[in-house]
Amino acid sequence: MDAVGATIRVQTADFDIAAESRALGADRTDIGGMASFVGLVRGTASGRPISSMTLEHYPGMTERALGAIGDAATQRFELQGCTVIHRVGILLPGDQIVLVLTAAPHRQAALDGCAFLIDWLKTRAPFWKKERFADGTESWVDAREADDVTAERWGRL
């Protein structure tokens, strides 16, 4: 079976990595391996405890950007499929934020495709995080230059 298009979802609800793995591999026997990345809400920012994090996004452009990154990864690493789920809304420390799941005939493509996807997602998908600290103050998270450098190591999309 050939590669299928990337599965992209933006949702407030939590996700189940086991269910998503089963869905990605359903009804096929050609997949040799899957790789996954799950991003979580850290309980502190700059050493200060946070009480929650709010994820805002640009409906429409988000799905387009994630679809483009998914297609680029699928083509470049010859993935057999990939799933990207990103949550939005109010999340608590320990909550899952993002899932990247890749399937390929061999491990290296699955692992590389997964790393490529999360690196590009962090610099190209229109999401913004706002942290609410335990003392009630709020602050938008600054973009990290290091993330741009990490994404650039893959070359252009």
């Binding site: 452009m61 997602l121 913004w128 600054d142």
Partner: protein, 83 residues
């Protein structure tokens, strides 16, 4: 033209979305920003020079030289921080 603002730009400007009639002579993103800055202190603060503002035209990332036209959807936002 539909203009969208996200994250701290939305808070600074005081609205998430608006419909504007593009003044004659504005043909690119830089021109639009220069005009928006004249529309009040919130806009001035949001687009003050040196601020890191990103733009998308019709949901694709666009630089200051990108052409714009009536009917386009233009969005302004800070560098993204998802993942």
């Amino acid at each position: 033209m539909r203009i969208l603002y996200f994250a701290w730009l939305r808070e600074r400007v005081g609205l998430g979305e608006e419909q504007v009639d593009l003044p004659a002579g504005i043909a690119d993103v830089a021109g639009l920003i220069a005009w928006l800055r004249t529309r009040g202190p919130g806009f001035e603060a949001a687009f003050a020079q040196g601020r890191l503002v990103r733009c998308a035209v019709n949901q694709d990332f666009a630089g200051p030289d990108a052409a714009i036209a009536p009917g386009d959807e233009v969005a302004f936002f800070p560098p993204v921080t998802g993942g």
